[in-house]
Symmetry: C2
Subunit: 138 residues, 2 copies
């Protein structure tokens, strides 16, 4: 049983076969997939699964707070099943490898009041870029 499915069930969310396949596809890899990639992989197990169901399901999981939607480089959003605790991303500019990382302080503490322009700030995320060990050698 997928851990994500367990978490989703707690929201009194009906776990249909389609949703289960999508959740398990999301959790089955350490890479963050795009919606199209999830559709493609989930269709290997359930060929009649529709594009709309994948998009709807991903959006609902994001709304429930159980997965994260990442808008990074490129045109498509990616989905991260580790929505549990706050984390940030470290991206290799050589090969595109992406890792989750944790900071020692809350980034919101470093934005002074006069830099907030009247906004109420609710979330903050840091993206670190550099070269991974493999790409430093190359």
């Amino acid at each position: 049983m997928s851990d994500l499915v367990t978490r989703l069930r707690r929201h009194n969310w009906r776990i249909t076969p389609q949703r289960r396949v999508i959740a398990e596809t999301l959790e089955g890899s350490h890479v963050h997939f795009t919606a199209e990639e999830i559709l493609e992989r989930a269709c290997e197990r359930m060929p009649e699964l529709s594009r709309a169901t994948v998009y709807n399901t991903l959006n609902e999981m994001v709304a429930l707070g159980e997965i994260l939607e990442l808008t990074l480089e490129g045109r498509s959003k990616r989905y991260d099943p580790n929505a549990d605790h706050e984390h940030h991303h470290l991206i290799c500019e050589g090969c595109g490898l992406m890792k989750d990382v944790h900071t020692v302080a809350d980034p919101a503490d470093w934005l002074p009041g006069d830099e907030r322009h009247g906004f109420t700030v609710t979330r903050s995320s840091v993206t670190y870029r550099g070269l991974c060990p493999d790409c430093q050698g190359a």
Copy 2:
């Protein structure tokens, strides 16, 4: 004369009327526009300007390193004429408004060595999200 135009001229880049209007539109505001917004505003001064020219010109300016392409929330990229000095972004989740902000510390200092996974970190950027004054009221 726009400062961005000056910088572009240094690349031996032909400054056509179209490119001048696009560059001045980019610099004329403190917020970061999408390509469509730039097209719309530039068309107020040059109605025959085409969509393709705006997209081509923006992509070329990015390739020259004179503006930044931001892939953040939503479906469209935004363009930042301040490619020079380090700054971060504050985004309204209501209307998509984006502003430049400055933090009181370097985000790289918040990432402990054991969270770097052997990467050499060269750049870091923080994205703050919340509601702008207008969207708080609505």
